[in-house]
């Protein structure tokens, strides 16, 4: 229950911020991808820098996740074919629609009717993927088998 409430609250902040930063507007995204505006790149770099500092600090101090009790840890995946092929397909769609999954959701929330088509497409795409019954590629937690968890701690 508290996990769901927290998820909803974080999503609200995320959605308002995405909208307020102009990332919902296809013209803002397109201007960035054509190197006409620097906002997206500065914004993205600031987000990654903040996220990186905080995440590594949590692991450094041995923080235990409040809802799961696990010590903060993760695995660093090696690049595989699927990361490149999937990102090529995703990038193609992103460059055409000038919206990625977060902004598509906020467009729908703002009442942009065109976004319902993109949303419908995303749902079809996810269904096509899930029908292939591949192992989950985006785990809900980074929980590791006990043996595999060791190297992550050693690296820290």
């Amino acid at each position: 229950m508290r996990g769901r409430v927290a998820g909803l609250a974080i999503g609200l902040i995320f959605g308002v911020t995405l909208s307020w930063s102009g990332m919902t507007s296809p013209d803002v995204i397109r201007a960035a991808l054509l190197f006409e505006q620097s906002y997206l790149f500065l914004f993205f770099a600031a987000a990654v820098l903040t996220a990186t500092s905080g995440t590594w600090l949590l692991r450094r101090i041995g923080f235990r996740a409040l809802f799961t009790g696990q010590r903060v840890t993760w695995t660093q995946d090696r690049p595989a074919r699927r990361h490149i092929v999937g990102s090529l397909i995703f990038g193609l769609g992103w460059g055409i629609a000038d919206a990625c999954p977060g902004p598509i959701a906020t467009q729908v929330g703002q009442g942009i009717a065109w976004a319902l088509w993109t949303l419908g497409g995303v749902i079809i795409g996810v269904v096509l993927f899930l029908r292939r019954q591949e192992p989950e590629t985006e785990p809900a937690t980074d929980t590791l088998p006990a043996t595999a968890a060791e190297p992550a701690h050693v690296r820290a």
Binding site: G3, G7, V28, L66, R71, R78, F90, G109, Q110, G125
Partner: protein
């Protein structure tokens, strides 16, 4: 965009903080595609027991609604280059183009294990080589696609 744009040095760190909070609460990656996947997967299994990732996506949608209500309307009219390029009868092309782009976005992000948030923000925050490669690939591809579209239209 129609409304005042929040400064990048505020908006960026706020999204970064969302990533940190998800890590601190769940020891998990924040990813919008994970939210779609959770909702679609549960719908396919005819289940209503949606976990925090699904509720996160519902929150993102409602965040857009809150913004539009407070700001007095959506952030843009029409739909970017598509509604500027296709007029009259040609407007019928926009819906299928957006639908196909959406399929590519949803399917591609699932194959890659994340989108701009899952790989771009959360994965890169872990300095995961796979996420760095994915981010370089989707940014590079979207930039090339944008210039190709600009050259054609």
């Amino acid at each position: 965009m129609l409304h005042h744009q929040l400064a990048w040095y505020i908006a960026g760190p706020v999204l970064g903080l969302c990533v940190i909070v998800v890590r601190a609460l769940f020891n998990a990656r924040l990813g919008v595609t994970g939210g779609y996947s959770e909702l679609v997967g549960k719908a396919m299994a005819r289940s209503l027991r949606v976990d925090w990732r699904g509720w996160f996506l519902i929150g993102v949608v409602l965040g857009g609604t809150v913004f539009a209500v407070v700001a007095g309307g959506p952030d843009f009219h029409g739909y970017g280059w598509l509604t500027r390029t296709f007029h009259g009868g040609a407007q019928a092309l926009i819906a299928p183009i957006l639908l196909i782009a959406g399929v590519l976005i949803g399917y591609g992000a699932k194959v890659a294990g994340g989108c701009t948030s899952g790989n771009g923000l959360s994965g890169n925050a872990l300095l995961s080589p796979a996420s760095l490669a994915a981010t370089a690939t989707f940014f590079g591809t979207a930039i090339v696609v944008s210039f190709v579209i600009k050259a054609i239209i």
